[in-house]
């Protein structure tokens, strides 16, 4: 029994790599407050890409996802080259290579923990090796071809991998946001996209239980990109060919589909260092040996390495604590955020269905002025959008059609977010959309009045008396718009229509 207990406690004790993975996952998601508020971090740190696959719509994400960023950059090729994100990926590639997958990627950690669930495990074979090339096909089609095609031909920012596959986005972004009680209204927009991506997430989760790092080995395009740098990256596993007897113990122990130590499939986890009978393998960062067989060090060297290791952990923990304090309490973006924006229930004005929307005036892109008070007597549609938001751009033609159809009896305004990456006027120049457009110069104006959040798109509908009957984030279809128009245009006094629409929205 003692023997069993010892074995169990040994197997449950986290390795240094596992601790670093946990540390990295926390650092990637240092904005813990996001889980409480149900809002994502909007501070300046999101200018920087994180090395691992970590959705930037995860409530806790402190940085931008490199894979999402590169798709967005490729989709914007018609406007400007995405030098910035390409530079960042080159930098990560040449310094760390696939060490990122093995030591830093939060989704890699999740996959490894899932694989810890005791079950039958799939053995690696020629089949799994062949399947490992699938991620290059996915990279070519979903990360490069789809964003480029839609960006260049239709001017629509289409992140193919995020939209159709990415399980990290579904788990961290969608489910992370939906789990928060503040975000009940997000359920209203779930449909076929969510169902499809949820099924993909579940299948990958199940596969990870039976097959080590399924997503990483066969699907992840970010791993495919980093793999291209693996043979010359600064950090990685190295073999001293003079000591090596080619016994194959390293390759046989490896859980990834490697043929050679350090090839494009190697995630530099350094587990092979411990199994090499000739002590020929080390894990290095440039000339610094990060991991080597214990026997290759003298007692003095071991002592020295232990001291340096303790110092490194102390610095790392200080950095983590600093990051947690900064992101959650000191960062100006964290201070501004919070989902406490719910209106006073007794107030007459507000953004919630049944309330009169506060008056505002916005300068339109065509030079005219939109004054809400002037629209009394007409149904009013306000749409919040951005050039870099795929569903926003896709639904704008529906608004334009509705506006054209009821031009004499409708007021409409499409308002671009205050975060501008492309000039909206230039973007709209050849689109031929009929309704007036404006840009919110500061999130304190219209955005605040209608309770605009970090989620796009958002549609607000007012009836003829200026009372809100609909205020929801998410895409709308022509059917929904027509139904909303019918309700907003109903001649009866507000209460009936607003209550009906608000109850539908609440459902």
């Amino acid at each position: 029994m003692d023997k069993t207990t010892n074995t169990t406690s040994r197997s449950l004790r986290p390795s240094t790599r596992r601790l670093i993975q946990l540390y990295s996952a926390l650092l990637h998601n240092a904005y813990v407050k996001g889980f409480i508020d149900g809002e994502i971090y909007q501070g300046k740190a999101k200018y920087a890409c994180v090395p691992g696959l970590n959705c930037y719509s995860c409530p806790a994400a402190a940085g931008a996802c490199p894979l999402g960023s590169i798709q967005n950059a490729l989709a914007s090729t018609g406007h400007r080259a995405g030098w910035y994100v390409m530079g960042i990926i080159l930098l990560f590639g040449v310094t760390l290579g696939r060490t990122i997958c093995g030591w830093l990627c939060p989704f890699g950690l999740i996959q490894e923990l899932l694989h810890k669930i005791p079950s039958f495990k799939l053995r690696k074979s020629r089949f799994t090796r062949a399947l490992s090339y699938l991620k290059y096909v996915i990279l070519a089609i979903f990360v490069i071809a789809i964003p480029l095609y839609y960006g260049l031909t239709q001017d629509i920012p289409m992140p193919g991998f995020c939209k159709y596959i990415c399980p990290a986005g579904t788990l961290g972004g969608a489910i992370g946001l939906l789990a928060n009680p503040h975000n009940t209204d997000l359920f209203g927009m779930l449909g076929i996209f969510f169902t499809r991506k949820f099924v993909i997430l579940m299948l990958i989760t199940l596969a990870c239980v039976f097959c080590y790092r399924t997503f990483c080995r066969f699907i992840c395009p970010l791993g495919a990109i980093y793999g291209l740098f693996n043979h010359f990256s600064l950090t990685g596993v190295r073999v001293d060919e003079n000591c090596c007897n080619h016994c194959g113990a390293c390759v046989n122990t490896c859980k990834m589909d490697v043929l050679r130590v350090g090839d494009h499939e190697c995630i530099n986890c350094a587990q092979c260092v411990d199994v090499c009978p000739k002590k020929a393998i080390t894990f290095n960062a440039g000339t610094v040996v990060l991991k080597a067989p214990e026997a290759s060090f003298t007692a003095e060297e071991k002592n020295d390495r232990q001291k340096k290791g303790r110092l490194a952990w102390a610095i790392a923990l200080a950095v983590l604590v600093g990051a947690l304090v900064w992101f959650n309490f000191l960062d100006p973006a964290a201070k501004q955020s919070g989902n406490g924006g719910s209106a006073d229930a007794t107030a007459i004005t507000g953004y919630e269905p049944g309330k009169q929307l506060e008056d505002f005036t916005l300068e339109c892109l065509d030079g005219s002025s939109f004054h809400l008070a002037d629209t009394r007597g007409k149904p009013v549609f306000i749409n919040l959008w951005a050039t870099y938001c795929t569903p926003c751009v896709q639904e704008l033609p529906y608004f334009s059609d509705l506006y054209t159809q009821h031009e004499d009896d409708i007021a409409m305004l499409a308002v671009h977010s205050s975060v501008v990456t492309d000039d909206p006027a230039e973007f709209l120049a050849n689109k031929g959309w009929a309704m007036p457009f404006a840009t919110d110069t500061s999130d304190d104006t219209l955005w605040k009045i209608v309770n605009g959040s970090s989620t796009l798109p958002q549609t607000i509908v007012l009836d003829r008396d200026g009372v809100v009957i609909y205020n929801q984030v998410g895409s709308v279809t022509p059917d929904v718009l027509e139904k909303l128009y019918e309700q907003a245009a109903a001649p009866a006094k507000t209460s009936a229509s607003s209550e009906q629409a608000s109850s539908s929205a609440a459902n």
């Binding site: 069993t4 169990t8 971090y41 999101k46 200018y47 960023s69 967005n72 950059a73 914007s76 400007r80 030098w83 910035y84 994100v85 390409m86 530079g87 080159l90 930098l91 040449v94 005791p118 079950s119 039958f120 495990k121 053995r123 074979s125 920012p157 992140p159 990415c166 986005g169 972004g173 939906l178 997000l186 927009m189 779930l190 449909g191 996209f193 969510f194 949820f198 099924v199 199940l206 239980v209 010359f232 596993v237 190295r238 060919e241 080619h246 390759v251 046989n252 951005a386 870099y388 938001c389 795929t390 569903p391 977010s417 975060v419 970090s454 989620t455 796009l456 059917d479 139904k483 909303l484």
Partner: protein
């Protein structure tokens, strides 16, 4: 059949059943919700109540708890698939070629050039506005991109 094998079979089946139950529930909610939406375009396909009913109801919750209990039992008893993750065909000493990827020629030069190129790209990106593209995309939730719809 020994105890170890039985535990692994039970746990494997439970994992599959749990995922099948979750997937089937999601598809069922979608199909029912779609029919409701056809009648009223403003109604929601998914609601918090429908999802909670699935997660806290039969068969998802019992399967999850059973799977959790089996996992803990396996961990305590030290049960795992010993052959798991080992290659089907063991690499022998006779495997031709080097064990490691050959060190590329001009390794240091290649690293320095790539590193310099990376820095040049980043600086160019800051000036041409592509850094703003990254920021703009990262601070707004694109609902379709994360599967919300």
């Amino acid at each position: 059949m020994n105890k170890k094998r039985l535990f692994l079979i039970v746990q494997s089946v439970l994992c599959v059943l749990l995922v099948v139950a979750l997937v089937a529930s999601a598809i069922n909610i979608y199909q029912v919700g779609l029919a409701e939406k056809a009648a009223d375009p403003l109604s929601s396909i998914y609601t918090r109540e429908k999802v909670a009913a699935v997660l806290l109801g039969v068969p998802v919750l019992p399967l999850f708890l059973l799977s959790l209990a089996t996992t803990i039992a396996c961990l305590v008893l030290g049960i795992k698939d010993e052959k798991g993750n080992k290659p089907v065909r063991i690499v022998s000493a006779a495997t031709p070629g080097p064990t490691a990827v050959p060190v590329p020629t001009h390794l240091a030069l290649r690293r320095r050039v790539t590193f310099a190129l990376a820095l040049v790209f980043i600086v160019a990106g800051v000036f041409n506005g592509s850094a703003m593209d990254v920021f703009g995309k990262a601070i707004k939730i694109c609902t379709e991109c994360i599967g919300l719809g």
